[in-house]
């Protein structure tokens, strides 16, 4: 029955998420994960053929859906573009800079030396998100809310500005959690600079 299957899948993902966070990707084993949920190893492999796949699914589940939601909130009909971007930026950073997401990001970069997990997460999460944001910005350009420019580059610039005060600090472990008020300040400054860089003159 489908709901039972889905419940099992979710249980595996939750257990895996815990194990990865506790011991890291490298030291985590499929046996550890199986031990938390019970059942046979064969069942586990039936759902996820490898540790890499499971790792990616955990990330995918934790981050992608929430970023999708943030992007979904962008209203292309809205008159106040800045307000839309502020709201999006707030949600985007709250998702990306939660302690879970930070831990996963560290792992992804470290593991990209050994497996294709980094590549998978980039292709399946970052690329579609950039594309969706670019489509939104393109509409804003057509409506005259921004100057005409390469929308993909504009999207990449906006995302990098949003992260500019936080990314390096977090990757280097100088900041291990980011307070909401830090996020709102960073978002305001990033969106202001983006708007001046891409406004019509």
């Amino acid at each position: 029955m489908k709901s039972k299957t889905e419940a099992k899948r979710l249980a595996i993902l939750n257990a895996a998420s815990e194990v990865f966070r506790e011991v890291g990707f490298e030291r985590a084993s499929m046996s550890d994960i199986r031990a938390r949920i019970g059942g046979s190893k064969a069942t586990l492999y039936n759902y996820f053929p490898s540790k890499e796949k499971l790792f990616f699914e955990v990330m995918h589940q934790a981050k992608t859906r929430e970023v999708d939601e943030a992007l979904g909130m962008l209203n292309p009909e809205a008159d106040d573009l800045k307000q839309e971007l502020l709201r999006f930026g707030q949600k985007f950073l709250a998702v990306l800079y939660s302690p879970d997401a930070i831990a996963i990001r560290h792992l992804t970069i470290a593991e990209s030396r050994r497996s294709d997990s980094g590549k998978l997460s980039f292709e399946r999460a970052v690329v579609p998100h950039e594309k969706q944001l670019a489509e939104f910005l393109k509409k804003a350009m057509k409506r005259g809310q921004l100057r005409t420019a390469d929308a993909k580059i504009a999207a990449i610039h906006l995302l990098s500005l949003l992260e500019s005060e936080l990314l390096q600090r977090v990757l280097l472990g100088v900041l291990d959690s980011v307070k909401p008020e830090v996020i709102s300040g960073a978002v305001r400054r990033a969106v202001e600079v983006f708007m001046s860089g891409y406004q019509r003159r």
Partner: protein, 213 residues
């Protein structure tokens, strides 16, 4: 002339760099580094008080050597700001997108969380960034950029420069490093957007007349 202890220090840095890159931080010991350099452990410790500090020093050595050259682009009195930033930006991108530096960056990030070396790296990087902030502050003072927080502006410029290429390279989505034409184009897009954003109030930045995009 290099003094003897500088030569020793250099030898320790080179050996440590090679071992850390080959085996990672955890699996490399001070004893192994000493054995390969020769001499006593006490000598190694007299140059580098801990394995963490040695790790940071040797990973940053290439960056510091490189930056001392590239920071020469940032002379506010001699060139126009746009040209200076374009040269600086392309130069930085060529360096950080090289396979060796990408590998170093992955290693630094991987170790940062575990060994507590991240703060040491951050301080080093912040010291280098200060020179970009000083350049931007000079541009703000002379009126070629609007007055704002130069430190924030330097972080934003740094992020925009890296934005197009660093992440796919770091995650090995793309394997080949960009060539100089590609980094020059990315630097141009970042610098132009940055200069528009920081154009002095009430007028278009002079520099923009030369860049229709």
């Amino acid at each position: 002339m290099q003094v003897k202890s500088d030569i020793k220090r250099q030898a320790i840095l080179e050996t440590a760099y090679r071992l850390f890159r080959a085996q990672g931080f955890d699996k490399t010991s001070m004893a192994e580094i000493t054995a390969q350099v020769g001499g006593s452990k006490a000598t190694v410790y007299s140059h580098f008080p801990s394995k963490e500090e040695l790790f940071v020093e040797c990973m940053m050595a290439a960056l510091e050597n490189y930056m001392s050259g590239t920071l020469k682009h940032l002379d506010a009195s001699r060139t126009d700001p746009r040209l200076a930033l374009l040269n600086f930006g392309s130069s930085v991108l060529n360096f950080i997108c090289s396979p060796e530096q990408l590998e170093v960056r992955r290693l630094i990030i991987a170790e940062a969380a575990r060994s507590g070396t991240g703060k040491l790296f951050f301080d080093k990087i912040a010291a280098l960034r200060t020179q970009l902030s000083a350049f931007l502050a000079a541009c703000m003072a002379s009126g070629s950029l609007r007055r704002s927080d130069p430190e924030l502006a330097s972080e934003q410029l740094g992020a925009m420069l890296e934005a197009e290429m660093l992440e796919p390279l770091l995650l090995q989505v793309r394997e080949d490093s960009p060539d100089e034409r590609e980094t020059a184009r990315a630097a141009k897009r970042a610098v132009d957007a940055f200069l528009r954003a920081y154009a002095p109030a009430g007028r278009q930045a002079l520099q923009l007349k030369q860049c229709p995009n």
